[in-house]
Symmetry: C2
Subunit: 187 residues, 2 copies
C-alpha cells in the first residue's frame, strides 16, 4: 500500500494514451489527419497548456511535424496560442467545451467540403437547364438527370438548413439538455 503513487500515475497516463489514440482514430470522421487529431487530443484530455517540446516528447514526433499540425489546428480554431510572461516559448491549449468543439468541426467541414459540393451541383443543374440546352432540355434523358440533381439539391439544402438551425440554437439546446439530464451520467 506504499508504492501506489507511481501506480496510479502510470494508470492515468495510460488512459490518456488510450484517449489520444482514440482521438487519432477518429480523425477521418473529422476530416483531419491522425497526428493533428492526436496533438489536439493530448491537450484536450489533459487540459494543459503545452509547448511544442511537451508535445514532441509526449507523442514522440518531430518538431516540424508538431509545428505544421499546430498551424492547422490554429487555422481550424480548435487550439489557441497563449503566452506566459517571461517565457519566450509559445504555449498552446485546446478549446475545452465539447459543444464548441463539435460546432467548430462541423462548421469547418461544411465550409470546406459541403459548400463546394453544393455549388458544383448547382452548376450541373444549370448546365441541364433549358437556358443552356434549349429545346433539348425536354429530352427524357436530360429530364431524368436533371431530376436526380434537383432531388439531391433539395435534400442537401434541407439538411444544410436543419443543421444551421441546430447549431444556432445549440446554446439553448444545451441548457435544456443540462437541465433535463441533471448531472446523472450518460445513459
Amino acid at each position: 500500500m506504499k508504492s501506489t503513487h507511481r501506480d496510479w500515475k502510470e494508470r492515468l497516463t495510460s488512459v490518456e494514451q488510450e484517449f489520444v489514440e482514440l482521438w487519432g482514430s477518429m480523425s477521418s470522421l473529422w476530416g483531419i489527419n491522425p497526428t493533428m487529431a492526436r496533438i489536439h487530443g493530448i491537450m484536450f484530455i489533459t487540459g494543459q497548456t503545452m509547448t511544442m517540446d511537451d508535445i514532441m516528447e509526449r507523442l514522440a514526433i518531430s518538431r516540424g511535424n508538431v509545428s505544421m499540425n499546430l498551424t492547422k489546428l490554429l487555422e481550424w480554431g480548435l487550439v489557441k496560442r497563449v503566452h506566459r510572461p517571461g517565457d519566450r516559448r509559445d504555449y498552446y491549449e485546446s478549446i475545452r467545451d465539447v459543444w464548441e468543439l463539435f460546432t467548430i468541426v462541423a462548421t469547418q467541414r461544411k465550409r470546406r467540403e459541403i459548400d463546394p459540393v453544393l455549388s458544383t451541383l448547382r452548376r450541373c443543374r444549370d448546365e441541364l437547364s433549358p437556358e443552356a440546352l434549349g429545346a433539348r432540355a425536354e429530352e427524357d434523358f436530360v429530364q431524368d438527370r436533371a431530376k436526380r440533381i434537383n432531388d439531391l439539391l433539395k435534400f442537401l439544402s434541407l439538411m444544410d438548413s436543419l443543421s444551421q438551425k441546430f447549431f444556432e440554437s445549440h446554446k439553448s439546446l444545451r441548457q435544456a439538455v443540462d437541465l433535463l439530464a441533471g448531472d446523472g451520467g450518460e445513459e
Copy 2:
C-alpha cells in the same frame, strides 16, 4: 440547327462526368474511397443498370478494381446486383432514393466508426472509476480527466440518440417536407 444531336449528347455526358468527379471528391465525407464513390456516382446519375465492362469503360479503370469496389458497395448496401434473363453477366444498379442513400451512409458510418469510439470511451471512463483506482480516483488529476470523458460521453450519446430519432422519423419527415416544399425547386 442540324448537328445539335451530337452536341447535346456530349453536353449531357460531360455533365455526368462532372457529377461523377464531384461524387468522387465527396468520398472522404462518406468515409469511402474515391473510386468506390465514382462507381456509385455513375450508376446513380445515369440511373442505369450496368455491367462491370460498362463501368470499366466509362471510368477507364481495371476489371479488378471495379470488382473489388463493387463488392464493397454491395456490402454497404449502396448498390444492388440484378440479373437479366438470358444474360450471364451480372448487372448492378444504385439505390435511387436520396434519403435512403443518406440513411445507409450514416448508419454504416455510425456502426463502423462511432460505435467503436463510444465503447472505447466507456472503457476509459471505467478505468478512471473508483472501482478501478480505489481512493486515488478522488485525486484532482483523475477527477479532471474523468469529467472530460464523461462530458464527451454525454454529448456523443445525446447526438447518437438525436440522430437515431431523426432517422426513425425520416419517412414522415420526408412526407412533411415534400408537402411543404411542393415541387417548387430547391431554395
